[in-house]
């Protein structure tokens, strides 16, 4: 399906959950695929785009993952700069990283090692003169399953 076919669409929110980094990467690619303009390009009237990506992290394995250097970020950055998005005014990007900890663990035992720089992963979007770009990350340390949020 091409978004340009949804002629009245002004607000699009995509929420995606991943239980490992492989799935997380596939989810990002799926988002890029959905946002990619058709050939030949047709106008897409979206004004507000919100992308929320949730990923479950394994404390010992995923903390050191180079999440902000994956090539899919530049793909998303480039896709959103396409002329098809002539009406785009707001883009919200919201990441939530869920670290499972056993209930017996105290919060003091845990320290987040995930850090992002929005300008680094989406340089074109973050410096665009007419698009308001909001970037937020939450790191959630919890004994509960991700679905409960």
């Amino acid at each position: 399906m091409q978004l340009s076919q949804l002629t009245s669409l002004r607000n699009l929110k995509i929420t995606s959950n991943a239980f490992n980094f492989e799935r997380f990467d596939l989810n990002k690619k799926a988002v890029c695929q959905l946002l990619s303009p058709s050939l030949p390009p047709s106008p897409i009237g979206i004004r507000f785009l919100s992308i929320e990506l949730n990923v479950r992290m394994l404390l010992q394995i995923d903390s050191a993952h180079p999440i902000n250097t994956l090539p899919a970020w530049s793909e998303l950055d480039n896709v959103l700069m396409e002329a098809s998005f002539f009406n785009m005014q707001y883009v919200d990007l919201d990441f939530q990283f869920f670290f499972y900890i056993p209930p017996s663990t105290t919060p003091e035992d845990w320290q987040s090692r995930v850090a992002f720089e929005d300008a680094r992963i989406l340089p074109l979007l973050s410096t665009h003169p007419s698009i308001q770009f909001h970037f937020k990350t939450n790191t959630i340390c919890t004994p509960q399953v991700m679905d409960s949020y």
Binding site: M1, Q5, L6, T7, S8, L9, R10, N11, L12, K13, I14, T15, S16, N17, L26, N27, A30, V31, Q33, L34, I101, P103, P107, W110, S112, V114, A115, T137, N138, T139, I140, C141, T142, P143, Q144, V145, D147, S148
Partner: protein, 330 residues
């Protein structure tokens, strides 16, 4: 005789004050307003009783009895016409947290709980039957804490819930976090065609026993032009839901429900997390409302794995922890 030192405000101004207080969403302040004077009491009580929430748990019956007594009291009979919103929360029992209980044990606990909730003198049934005659515009039936099981064992209560879901004045209906909801109930809601907002999410749908017996009701195939403007069908059994909308996952199978067109639909919330044939139908559905759809919220884009609702439901039954530790990174 009025006290000369007390300024007398016109009733219209008092009503505006109470409306403003009500917009702050603070029942405590509204309750205080109701005690100021008679001129404050009436508009405050109207606001207080315009939205009613009921927790269906072990302590339900005495609370339902008290509320029913208040609503039927001679001075309060006029309050019914001001009741606009009803929310019923099905609170599942706290389960054993140390070790996951086997599913048979869970159902046993639920059966015990249900027998406590529905004794011979069923005040919930009486209370809900009372609300059937109120001019409700909004009704919500939600599992609270974990998924709630449907149907309830009390068939009379199920019937009253069915009536509440199809009241002619109803504009907004939310059914959430329910496991095993019957498809015919949803079909009846769609055919009643009163709603502008329909949220049926985190629900698994079950075919009725009549279906398994081969007794399928085929409804009139006159197309229904739905009035729904906002449709939230996130985390749902889509095979059943699209069947209710008159669309079949398998083109070789007959669809017992009439085709439903959504010419007013402006907002859609949907999960695209299903096997391939279902995803094709979902995209087809979205394209079918392209001319009016202004807001689209997609969950689980692109996931094409097996989607079995019970896998979502049963782990949640165990999930009764309340402790969370949140930290925020910039």
């Amino acid at each position: 005789m009025s006290n000369p030192t007390t300024p007398i405000l016109p009733q219209e101004i008092i009503n505006l004050i109470v409306d403003e207080v009500a917009s702050q969403n603070s029942p405590e302040i509204l309750r205080s307003c109701a005690l100021v004077s008679r001129s404050f009491s009436s508009p405050s009580r109207r606001q207080l009783f315009s939205e009613i929430e009921i927790d269906v748990d072990e302590t339900l019956q005495p609370r339902a009895k008290r509320l029913l007594k208040v609503l039927k009291h001679g001075q309060n009979v006029d309050l019914m016409v001001f009741i606009r919103s009803l929310k019923v929360f099905l609170v599942s029992p706290q389960l054993e947290q140390r070790q996951p209980a086997p599913s048979s044990s869970i159902f046993s606990q639920m059966a015990t709980s249900i027998s406590r909730k529905f004794p011979h003198e069923n005040y919930l049934l009486k209370l809900l039957s009372f609300f059937v005659h109120a001019p409700l515009t909004s009704f919500a039936l939600q599992g609270k804490r974990v998924y709630a099981m449907w149907p309830w064992t009390d068939e009379r209560t199920n019937e009253v819930v069915r009536q509440l879901c199809t009241i002619s004045s109803l504009k907004s209906l939310q059914i959430s976090r329910i496991y095993g909801l019957h498809i015919p109930l949803i079909g009846e809601i769609v055919r009643a065609n009163t709603l502008q907002e329909f949220r049926v999410n985190e629900v698994s749908l079950l075919l009725s026993q009549h279906f398994y017996a081969g007794d399928i009701t085929v409804y009139s195939h006159a197309e229904i032009s739905s009035r729904i403007e906002k449709l939230d069908i996130k985390r749902l059994s889509y095979t059943g839901m699209f069947e209710i909308f008159g669309r079949s996952i398998d083109p070789l199978l007959p669809v017992p429900h009439p085709f439903v067109s959504f010419s007013c639909l402006r907002t859609l919330v949907i999960t695209i997390s299903s096997p391939e044939p279902t995803i094709t139908i979902i995209w087809g559905f979205i394209l079918g409302v392209a001319s009016t759809l202004e807001s689209l919220e997609i969950e689980e884009l692109g996931w094409q794995g097996e989607y079995v609702d019970i896998k979502r439901c049963l782990p949640s039954l165990y999930n009764t922890h309340c402790q969370t530790f949140r930290t925020h990174a910039a």
